[in-house]
């Protein structure tokens, strides 16, 4: 099941082309598929994406969106904003019986090209789809043809709630052939999330760095036969994140229109300790972000997570039990000689699996774990056997029992 879903995610999606219509200007032009609010960043007298001429009859008919949309649309040509009187919009037009699209039929021929700004696809309730999780769901179900059973609703719902709380809004235009996984990675990656296919073949969503809720380790790393080491690396520190956002999707432009140097969201204390540390590529390029507040939230989340060097624990397990762990899983481990920042022995510490490297010849598995700083905790049963003398925590204390 999982392999089949992965295969479909990597199969190229063929963007709808103008050739489906009887008299296009260029049959190879792809129809634009706009999502989210594309009105927030625009150039001077320019649109955000290019509209193909799908009918050359008269002054021409242009495709504004490859599906039906609602709301205000502005069109631009080589001379700037086109007077609305020069064209007739039909935002839900079953053009030539080939399916519903949004069109602009011109009475006066535009100058050179037509670009548009608009708000993209809406949901059944008429609300603009701009939550990145909802957008991913929309594309999975209604663009790429996955079924609702192939989407893990629990992780989707969790991601949607988180994105909503963070105020995330995504917007972008698809106008070329692509593999669904590439678009999903780009979309979710912009918002520090990712996806994976579970063994049942469902597409599950993950948002990195959210460990404020409960963590459920899937593995207790055997502690008797392990060799361990811990690393801190300066290269893992990021305390300022310059970003580019507000992409113009027109083939005539293609540039990112907004830049934020990350000064607002930087961590001054971390910079004092480790110097100014930027992402390895210098700046992040957020193609699906058009809103400054969203860009700054993303900057702040990256800095919050990476302002200190990652504590990476590498464990070599010769029992092979750790082979069941997967990337991103949480695992509890015990390395008694390691110390926490409170000088506690590292017993039942929880790490997130960064990599699993099995060596079946040597019969061992090497796990690399990011120390979350959290640990398995105990709770005391109030059965009359405890004296509340202030000597222990009722709950939340470190579980010091070594289980394996």
């Amino acid at each position: 099941m999982a392999d089949l879903t992965k295969q479909r995610l990597s199969d190229p999606f063929q963007a709808p082309r103008a050739s489906r219509y009887s008299a296009p200007e260029n049959g190879g032009d792809a129809l634009p598929l706009p999502y989210g609010d594309l009105t927030t960043v625009q150039g001077v007298d320019r649109g955000v994406y290019l509209c193909p001429r799908i009918d050359t009859t008269g002054a021409g008919t242009y495709c504004v969106a490859g599906f039906g949309i609602q709301g205000t649309v502005s069109l631009f040509d080589g001379a700037g904003l086109i007077p609305p009187g020069n064209y007739t919009l039909n935002l839900a037009n079953d053009f030539q019986g080939k399916g519903v699209i949004a069109t602009a039929a011109f009475s006066v021929a535009p100058d050179e090209f037509v670009e548009a700004i608009c708000k993209g696809r809406k949901d059944a309730a008429g609300a603009l789809i701009e939550n990145p999780a909802s957008l991913a769901e929309e594309m999975l179900l209604n663009l790429w043809g996955f079924t609702a059973q192939e989407v893990d609703n629990r992780t989707l719902s969790t991601a949607r709630t988180l994105f909503s709380a963070l105020g995330y809004k995504a917007a972008g235009v698809i106008q070329e052939d692509h593999a669904p996984q590439e678009v999903l990675q780009g979309l979710l990656g912009n918002f520090l999330a990712s996806f994976d296919v579970d063994p049942a073949g469902r597409i599950a969503f993950f948002s990195s760095g959210e460990e404020t809720a409960s963590i459920h380790p899937v593995l207790l790393v055997p502690s008797r036969e392990i060799r361990a080491r811990r690393e801190w690396d300066l290269a893992s520190v990021v305390n300022q994140v310059p970003v580019l956002y507000g992409k113009n999707f027109s083939f005539l432009d293609g540039r990112m229109k907004r830049h934020d140097d990350g000064e607002t969201a930087k961590d001054a204390a971390s910079q004092k300790l480790y110097g100014v540390r930027l992402p390895s590529q210098g700046r992040l390029s957020l193609e699906w972000v058009r809103d400054q507040a969203v860009a700054r939230t993303i900057q702040a989340r990256v800095v919050e997570r990476m302002a200190e060097p990652a504590r990476v624990v590498e464990i070599t397990d010769e029992s092979l039990r750790a082979i069941q762990a997967g990337e991103g899983d949480y695992a509890a481990f015990t390395v008694p000689w390691l110390r926490t920042e409170r000088l506690e022995e590292m017993v039942n510490q929880i790490g997130q699996v960064l990599s699993v490297t099995p060596d079946l010849n040597a019969q061992r598995v090497t796990l690399r774990l990011r120390d979350t700083g959290y640990f398995l905790t105990t709770a005391k049963l109030l059965d009359g056997s405890w004296s509340l003398g202030g000597g222990a925590l009722l709950g939340g204390g470190r579980d010091r029992v070594v289980y394996a």
């Binding site: 801190w232 001054a268 300790l273």
Partner: protein, 178 residues
């Protein structure tokens, strides 16, 4: 050449190439400075410097500066060096550290320190690594002679700690030239 360096060279001449120099690794981070050596370090070879900020209302505590910045708290003198990388005996091109000093070029350094348990049972470097920011700390390599003073200590090279690898037996500070 500075008078201190001249004095040092004179001292080297007096002692000959008999490896009498102590190689000192001074690790400075936000908490203070620690000195590491293969042998016990005479306090006379360790200096402190810096300033104290008076809280007289002229400083804005907005996170951009640290109180006591540039002051240097001495955190410890430790004879925990297991392997000083290129500065270890036997890895010199010649017999004394000044060969390296003369060549003046080392782009990287790996300093391996013992992680044996301390008096309280904590692995001593693990304890430090858990509570002090070692990454990006400055590591100065200095050379001096027993019986001499701070004025005769010679600065050989400076590095920045880029990676810390902690094992049960030892902790390695991987450094790049500052």
């Amino acid at each position: 050449m500075k008078p201190a360096s001249l004095a040092f060279l004179n001292e080297m001449e007096k002692h000959g190439d008999l490896n009498q120099a102590l190689v000192l690794f001074a690790l400075s981070n936000a908490n203070g400075v620690r000195f590491f050596c293969r042998r016990g370090i005479p306090e006379a070879l360790v200096g402190q410097s810096g300033g104290v900020w008076f809280l007289d209302g002229t400083w804005v505590l907005d996170g951009s500066v640290k109180l006591g910045e540039d002051s240097e708290a001495l955190l410890g003198l430790h004879d925990w060096v297991l392997d000083g990388g290129a500065y270890s005996q036997g890895r010199f091109l010649g017999l004394n550290p000044l060969d390296l000093f003369a060549r003046n070029e080392l782009s990287t350094l790996s300093l391996r320190l013992s992680n044996e348990p301390d008096a309280e049972g904590h692995p001593r470097m693990s304890r430090i690594a858990a509570t002090e920011p070692l990454v990006n700390a400055r590591l100065d390599v200095r050379a001096g002679f027993e019986g001499q003073t701070l004025a005769d200590v010679l600065q050989l090279a400076s590095f920045r700690v880029t990676r810390v690898v902690e094992r049960k037996e030892d902790v390695t500070l991987e450094c790049e030239a500052a």
